[in-house]
Symmetry: C2
């Protein structure tokens, strides 16, 4: 294993980039809250998922701010595509992760903002406008929730059925492939699960609110902030698969949280 | 079907009782928030579930206030037992529904307060201290969330796999009996589910945030407020079973929300 490419960016630069990311998150939060206050419009996308004017507006605000401050960086967004894919720095956004929850008045939705450097996650922010909760950190900088440092308790979890995990619902396991049996095996082995369907589940894994969290067949932006946050909190992040879709785009599955439990779940879901 | 026994209580009396229940909820919320601010203590009960000093404190506050205002009513609480079981009016409390979530910093926990009259639910309050969200109503009085009237959209839900439901995790289906197959059948038939493990799921069913919600092998207080709220919002509440436990106490399973979907889930879970 060579030197981590992210050490090419100085600690002071990383700290400044984290502050910039937090500023972008605050702007997105204000845009989302303004639309919540004034009434949202909901549309159905070609893949039958939902999009609202808040998704579009928050991503526009983000792109404009990134462009103004970091004109040589690339931007990848859920709603408005990618620009400058060859740039070393890539700013990534899911303006509203959990649009279905947002549209249905459930406050667990979040804005995901990440900065990757040469393909590696440098900075991550998970912001929850309705919960007034922001989880943010960067490589070598630790991770904070609403300004308070968090660490994952490193003690082993007894996998006796009481361990707490989050998973997507069975719909995520059957959407792109017939893998419902993987959900069923998981639910039998770790029956005390929660299903949130937003990046709030990632915050729970980072704070120890759950012992481990799973994402299944997710997009780049869904997981773009999570690895660096989990690792900075002392947890383990395991990529389980990375699958190119026939129509373009890549799907990622991952498990993260307390190290021993992550290893067990990784074995279960890979078998 | 005879006259509903609840009509023995005048509308004006019911409105006054709802105001009283809301006052009790505010007192409990203040007690819970004070303990959150000062640090909670967590213990394990004989049945291996958790209890905190916030559960105990909120129930004490409730009992003292009910006793002062309604000295002839009975009180049933999760933590401190029952008094006056023969009284026509029974005040019921689960001081913190979702104690595991509360202890793990997940804000979906709630306080359940209900008033039953001659065995029928007259008043219901679901209060969420961390979400600043209160759902309250009474027989013939409608239901409000943070003061705004809510109605369940009566239009039929297409049960095409995209319908949104909540369910307890598989652990609730295997805790008292070997009924994991019921969870598995539910997850296959309605794969787009959420799992919250608190009465916040009931609020979602009442507001239309989900199309239907299930409770499985729950205690009296877990469901004490829900039926009257669902019915006042125009939804359907179906009790699926009511089972006496050998050691005392009764377990209830129920499904509630949009009428057609409730009927379908009731068939699925009863077969």
């Amino acid at each position: 294993m060579g030197v981590d490419v992210r050490t090419e960016v100085s600690v002071a630069e990383r700290a400044a980039l984290l502050e910039a990311a937090l500023g972008f998150a605050r702007e997105c939060r204000a845009a989302v809250r303004a639309i919540v206050a004034c009434g949202m419009q909901i549309d159905v996308k070609p893949d039958y998922t939902l999009v609202t004017n808040a998704d579009i507006r928050a991503e526009e605000v983000f792109r404009r701010s990134v462009q103004a401050r970091f004109p040589h960086a690339g931007v990848i967004g859920e709603e408005l595509g990618a620009s400058d894919p060859q740039a070393a720095y890539q700013w990534i956004i899911d303006p509203i992760d959990g649009t279905a929850e947002f549209a249905n008045g459930i406050p667990l939705y979040g804005t995901i903002i990440a900065l990757h450097y040469r393909g590696q996650p440098l900075i991550g922010v998970l912001d929850h406008p309705a919960l007034d909760l922001v989880c943010a950190g960067g490589f070598g900088l630790g991770v904070k929730v609403n300004g308070r440092s968090v660490r994952i308790d490193p003690s082993a979890v007894r996998a006796d059925g009481k361990e707490r995990i989050t998973t997507p619902s069975r719909s995520s396991y059957v959407r792109y492939a017939d893998e419902g049996h993987r959900f069923d095996a998981l639910a039998r082995a770790h029956p005390n699960f929660r299903v949130f369907h937003t990046c709030y589940a990632h915050v729970c894994a980072i704070t120890g609110g759950v012992d481990a969290a799973i994402e299944w067949k997710a997009k780049l932006w869904d997981l773009a902030a999570t690895r660096v946050l989990v690792e900075e909190a002392g947890g383990t992040y395991r990529l389980l698969e990375e699958i190119e879709q026939p129509g373009g785009g890549t799907l990622y599955s991952a498990v993260f949280g307390k190290p021993e439990l992550v290893a067990g779940i990784a074995r279960l879901l890979s078998s």
